[in-house]
C-alpha cells in the first residue's frame, strides 16, 4: 500500500473539512466575542465596588480576539471524535489500509469527498462574490436603492 497516498487522503480530508467549516466558525466566534464583551461589561457595571483585575484582563483578551485572521481558532475540526470513530469502526480505514485490499476504493472515496467539499465551498464563494446583494439585509437594500436615485432613507 502506498503510504504517501494514504496520508495524502487523510490529511486532505481533514484539511477540506477545516476549510469548509471556517466561514461558519468565524461567524460563531464573532458572535461569542460580542456576547462575552457585553456580559463582562455588564457585570462590571453591576458590581462597581469589586476590583475588576480579572475581568479587565479577560475583557482585554476578548477585545483583541480577531476571528477573521486568527488561525489558532481553526486548528481542529469540530467533530473529530465522530469522524474518527466512523473511519475506524464503520469504514475500517486502518484495517483496510494495513491489509492493502479494498483500500483503493476507500481512498478514492476520500478524494471524492475532498473534491465535493472544496467545490461546494468555492461555488458558494463565487456566487457570493458575483452577487454581493445577496448578503445584504432588507434595510440595507432599501437604503442603497434610495441612494441610487439620490435620496436618503428618513431616519
Amino acid at each position: 500500500m502506498d503510504k504517501a497516498r494514504v496520508l495524502h487522503a487523510y490529511r486532505g480530508l481533514i484539511r477540506a473539512i477545516l476549510k469548509y467549516e471556517r466561514p461558519s466558525k468565524v461567524i460563531n466566534w464573532g458572535k461569542l466575542q460580542k456576547a462575552m464583551i457585553t456580559k463582562l461589561e455588564y457585570s462590571k457595571k453591576q458590581n462597581p465596588k469589586n476590583s475588576h483585575e480579572d475581568s479587565n484582563r479577560e475583557l482585554e483578551s476578548w477585545k483583541q480576539l480577531d476571528p477573521v485572521n486568527d488561525r489558532s481558532l481553526n486548528l481542529f475540526i469540530s467533530d473529530s471524535k465522530l469522524l474518527r470513530s466512523i473511519l475506524k469502526n464503520d469504514i475500517k480505514w486502518e484495517e483496510k489500509v494495513a491489509q492493502g485490499q479494498n483500500a483503493d476504493e476507500i481512498l478514492e472515496h476520500a478524494f471524492d469527498i475532498i473534491k465535493f467539499l472544496d467545490n461546494q465551498r468555492e461555488y458558494e464563494e463565487l456566487v457570493d462574490r458575483y452577487n454581493p446583494g445577496n448578503k445584504l439585509t432588507q434595510d440595507e437594500k432599501v437604503k442603497r436603492t434610495a441612494n441610487v436615485v439620490g435620496l436618503d432613507v428618513p431616519r
Binding site: 461567524i27 476578548w62 465522530l82 471524492d112 469527498i113 473534491k115 463565487l126 458575483y130
Partner: protein, 325 residues
C-alpha cells in the same frame, strides 16, 4: 529500579508543565479550551466543540439496534419537504457525518437552496421511497412530479440525445474536439452497449449516435430494444439509487454518465473493464465541448468558473450518496 523510573517520570512531567502549549502561540482567548479531549461542561467549551448554530444544535442520533441514523436539530429529526424524517441506514455513516457537517457549517440564517446539496439529494430519495408505497396520497405524488415510473420515462429521454452520443463536426476546433470525443466516448459507448445487453433478450443492443457530419442537425432517438433494456436496468434499482441516477443525469445531461457514476461507486469490482472510470473522467466527458471552448475563447467570468464548480459539486454529491461502505 522502580524509584528511578518514578523519578524520571516526575522530571518529564515537570518539563511538560513548563512548556507552552503549541496551539497557544498566538492570541489565546481566556475561558476557552481548544483541546479536543477536554470535556468540562462550560458554555464556551460546548460552543467551541459542538458546532452549535445560533439557536440550534445539529446532531446524529444513532440507533444501533435498528441500524439507522437520524439527523437532528435540537433533538428533533429534520424532515424532508414532504414531511418524512431524514433517517438513513447506519451503513452510510460517513454520509451521515457529511450531512451533519453540511448543517453545522451553514454560515448565516438565510439558508440558500444551493447550500445543502447532500441533504436535498437524500431528502429526495427518502421522499421517492415514500411516494412509491401503494397507499400514498396522490397529492403528495403530484408534488414530487409523479411516481418513479414517470421519472424513469423522463430520464429515458436523456438517452436519446445523450451528451456522450452526440459528436461534433470534424471542421470545428480543427478536428481536435472530434478526436477527443472519439477517444473518450467510443469506448464508453461500446461498454454501455455491452452493459445494456445484459438487460435485453436481443443480442443487438446498439446505441444510436448523432454524428453532426453525417446526420447534420436533427433529433435523435434510440430503438425500442435499447429503451426496454434501459428501463429494465432502472427497474432493478432501489429508489435511493434511482434518485442518484436522476441527479447525475440532470447534471450531466447524459444517461450514460448516470449509469457510469452509479455503477463505479456502487459495485466497481464486478464492472465491465470498459466502463471502469473515475468521477473526474465522467465530468470531463460531460463537459468536453465547454473545455474546448474555454481553451479557444477564454473563460467567461460568472459563467464558466461558476459552472465548473457547480457540475463538480453536484456530481460529487451523487458520488458520495452512491458509495457503499
Amino acid at each position: 529500579m522502580l524509584a528511578s523510573l518514578k523519578n524520571s517520570y516526575v522530571v518529564i512531567r515537570s518539563i511538560k508543565s513548563r512548556l507552552p502549549r503549541l496551539y497557544s502561540l498566538s492570541a489565546q482567548p481566556l475561558g476557552i479550551d481548544n483541546t479536543i479531549e477536554n470535556n468540562s461542561p462550560t458554555e464556551t467549551n460546548r460552543l467551541s466543540k459542538t458546532s452549535q448554530k445560533f439557536w440550534e444544535k445539529v446532531s446524529l442520533n444513532r440507533n444501533v439496534k435498528k441500524g439507522k441514523i437520524a439527523l437532528q436539530l435540537d433533538g428533533t429529526t429534520i424532515k424532508t419537504p414532504l414531511g418524512n424524517e431524514i433517517i438513513i441506514d447506519d451503513t452510510r455513516s460517513l454520509l451521515a457525518y457529511l450531512l451533519k457537517l453540511e448543517w453545522s457549517s451553514l454560515s448565516n440564517i438565510s439558508i440558500k437552496t444551493h447550500s445543502l446539496p447532500l441533504t436535498s439529494l437524500v431528502a429526495r430519495s427518502i421522499d421517492l421511497q415514500m411516494i412509491n408505497k401503494p397507499d400514498c396520497d396522490p397529492q403528495l405524488v403530484a408534488k414530487i412530479g409523479g411516481n418513479s415510473d414517470v421519472i424513469k420515462n423522463q430520464l429515458l429521454r436523456y438517452l436519446d440525445t445523450d451528451t456522450l452520443l452526440v459528436f461534433s463536426p470534424m471542421n470545428e476546433f480543427e478536428g481536435k474536439l472530434r478526436n477527443a470525443q472519439n477517444k473518450s466516448y467510443l469506448p464508453l459507448i461500446k461498454g454501455m452497449e455491452e452493459f445494456l445487453s445484459k438487460f435485453s433478450f436481443q443480442s443487438n443492443v446498439q446505441l444510436q449516435i448523432l454524428d453532426a457530419d453525417i446526420h447534420g442537425l436533427r433529433g435523435n432517438q434510440q430503438s425500442d430494444i435499447v429503451k426496454n433494456a434501459a428501463t429494465k436496468y432502472m427497474n432493478g434499482l432501489s429508489q435511493w439509487d434511482l434518485s442518484i441516477l436522476e441527479k447525475t443525469i440532470l447534471t450531466t445531461k447524459s444517461f450514460i454518465c448516470g449509469v457510469l457514476l452509479l455503477e463505479n461507486k456502487k459495485n466497481s469490482s464486478n464492472l465491465l473493464p470498459n466502463l471502469k472510470t473515475d468521477m473526474e473522467s465522467i465530468i470531463r466527458a460531460a463537459t468536453l465541448e465547454t473545455i474546448f471552448q474555454v481553451e479557444k475563447w477564454g473563460e467567461v467570468e460568472d459563467t464558466h468558473d461558476v459552472d465548473k464548480r457547480d457540475i463538480r459539486r453536484k456530481v460529487y454529491t451523487a458520488a458520495i450518496a452512491a458509495f457503499t461502505q
